[in-house]
């Protein structure tokens, strides 16, 4: 069990060179395709559904930044998503902040929480890292449960006003809000893409694949790990804060461990360590939840089955399989 080759590690790339010209062109084409799809989407699909996919897509992208490129499996990402959701809902409702400021404050708090938890969690590796992040997230859950003055307890924070963007443009209409969410999503995606392909991202990948070697080359592995952790938590927070404005609701569901599990599932289904996989995964899982909502607890069973099947037979995920077929990283 000791001899894990990099190809078997979940986070490892697909063994395809990442710096070819064609790949860059492909990625640009996918980005443009996504942007076009985002423009068309609200006219062909229910905007609230698309916004849900975008929020969870961004959440999964943020999670994948940490797991796929940092090699760190966090089982507590609901903490940042949920805490940002609470802060954004609270500031919008009780302080009357405009939506962009509410989202910003939620995102900042998530980033700070990520810095705090990240600095603790990176003290242990592998399986312990996952358990620590899970335990810390459970702490946030209990905190949310026990401070109803802030979180609304079991009811959550309901009827969050969508407000006016910059105090000017009303977001009450789904279409208007949609463009804001689409811009946030695209911005998040481009930022993550930039991070992955920056020198910083390359060092993170080196640490993921061989930490002792990266350290011997003079890189302070822990600083890089913490940095990627904070980035991931912040972007997860951005997703959560936006979600609170879209659904006008922040609740205990957002901080529960099952939310942490869901984002892992989305990333796994879409393709670990692929740039675009988490988006596909989020689309599949959110659509599944939408169409199967009437089945109650069966949704949990189905999600469990998808987990098991993915791990046993489909480890590359949807985008990973496509990338393998066209022999280019995606």
């Amino acid at each position: 069990m000791a001899d894990i080759t990099s190809a078997e590690a979940p986070a490892a790339a697909l063994g395809i060179s990442e710096t070819s010209r064609g790949t860059e062109r492909l990625h640009r084409a996918i980005m443009i395709g996504l942007a076009v799809a985002l423009v068309i989407a609200p006219f062909v699909a229910y905007p609230v559904f698309v916004m849900k996919v975008l929020c969870f897509g961004l959440f999964a992208l943020a999670f994948n930044l940490l797991l796929g490129y940092g090699g760190l499996l966090s089982f507590g990402h609901a903490a940042y998503f949920g805490m940002a959701s609470y802060v954004s809902a609270y500031t919008a409702k009780h302080w009357g902040l405009t939506p962009e400021l509410a989202i910003l404050s939620g995102t900042l708090i998530a980033g700070m929480l990520g810095a705090l938890f990240g600095s603790l969690a990176i003290r242990r590796q592998g399986i312990y890292f996952a358990m620590i992040t899970l335990a810390l997230a459970q702490m946030v859950f209990f905190f949310s449960l026990q401070t109803p003055r802030f979180t609304g307890g079991e009811d959550g924070i309901q009827a969050v006003p969508r407000g006016k963007l910059f105090g000017l443009v009303s977001l009450a209409d789904d279409r208007a809000l949609y463009w804001l969410v689409a811009v946030i999503f695209m911005g998040g995606l481009l930022l993550i893409y930039r991070i992955i392909h920056s020198p910083f991202g390359e060092v993170c990948k080196a640490i993921r694949d061989n930490e002792p070697r990266a350290i011997s080359l003079g890189y302070r592995a822990n600083q890089y790990k913490l940095a990627v952790f904070v980035l991931s938590a912040t972007l997860a927070g951005l997703a959560g804060a936006t979600k609170a404005i879209v659904f006008q609701l922040a609740s205990l569901t957002d901080v529960h461990w099952s939310m942490s599990g869901e984002v892992v599932l989305m990333t796994l289904v879409g393709g670990l360590g692929t740039v675009f996989g988490p988006i596909a995964g989020a689309l599949v899982i959110v659509a599944m939840q939408n169409y199967l909502a009437t089945l109650g607890a069966w949704v949990t069973v189905i999600q469990g089955c998808i987990f098991v099947i993915c791990v046993l037979l489909f480890r590359e995920g949807i985008v990973g399989v496509i990338a393998k077929a066209i022999k280019r990283p995606m």
Partner: protein, 295 residues
Amino acid sequence: MFELLGIPPQALFGQVLLGLINGSFYAMLSLGLAVIFGLLNIINFTHGAQYMMGAFVAWMALNYLGLNYWVALVVSPLIVGATGIVVERFLLKRIAHLDHLYGLLLTFGLALIIQGLFRNSYGSSGLPYQIPPQLAGGHNLGFMFLPNYRGWVVIASLVVCLTTWFMIEKTKLGAYLRAATENPTLTQAFGINVPLLVTLTYGFGVALAALAGVLAAPIYSVNPNMGADLIIVVFAVVVIGGMGSILGSIITGFSLGLVEGLTKVFYPEGAATVIFVIMVLVLLVKPAGLFGRTA
């Protein structure tokens, strides 16, 4: 009656006892996790679900077959352990060569399936399970009232934990197990059937969780979600203790239960999070865990 730090002794010792009971479940569950982790190199996320299954099998045995608590105490771990063996043979074996994170994801998926299935069939409100008549009632110890069943749980789990420790540290089978944990390839070369040992170890760890579930059934109601939150606390216990030492797991489990019980007396709001806070402190002071070895 005298008072200790302004707390009536009845309440204090009552919570200490409750803490010890929680501690016995932490100890039994973290022990099973540690044994499984040692040999299979996976964190068994299904552990909480298997603990719940143990309680449910006892409940089913009583309500469908009329088998009493004492029979369930033997039969339930055997049945749930057998399901564990099936899981190991057909699922975990296939991913044994992969990164251990896949083991975590697979067992998490299994836990979702099991919990979902039980919630579908039995709802999530919880089913009552009677304390066996032999252990009903209690004793007045002068400073507190000791319900017989609670005393029994603490003693039974101590005995189970110490027997497990003895088996692993002092018997020949345990020596094989430790050898296979240290170096499976070499142990195999000495003619020991390591795959069989792996399967049985997983079955044993699962049976231990189920046994804890049967012991828990009369105290907490039998509920499909009873293992889900517990397992996260047990993860924190494992991080605090480190999984390198069997005795360490037992001591950590019991003492953290005790700390939790005392927190309930002096600062009730902190009882749910105190173990996580201790985990944070341990990570700051001794990152490898109290009994852990730095790898």
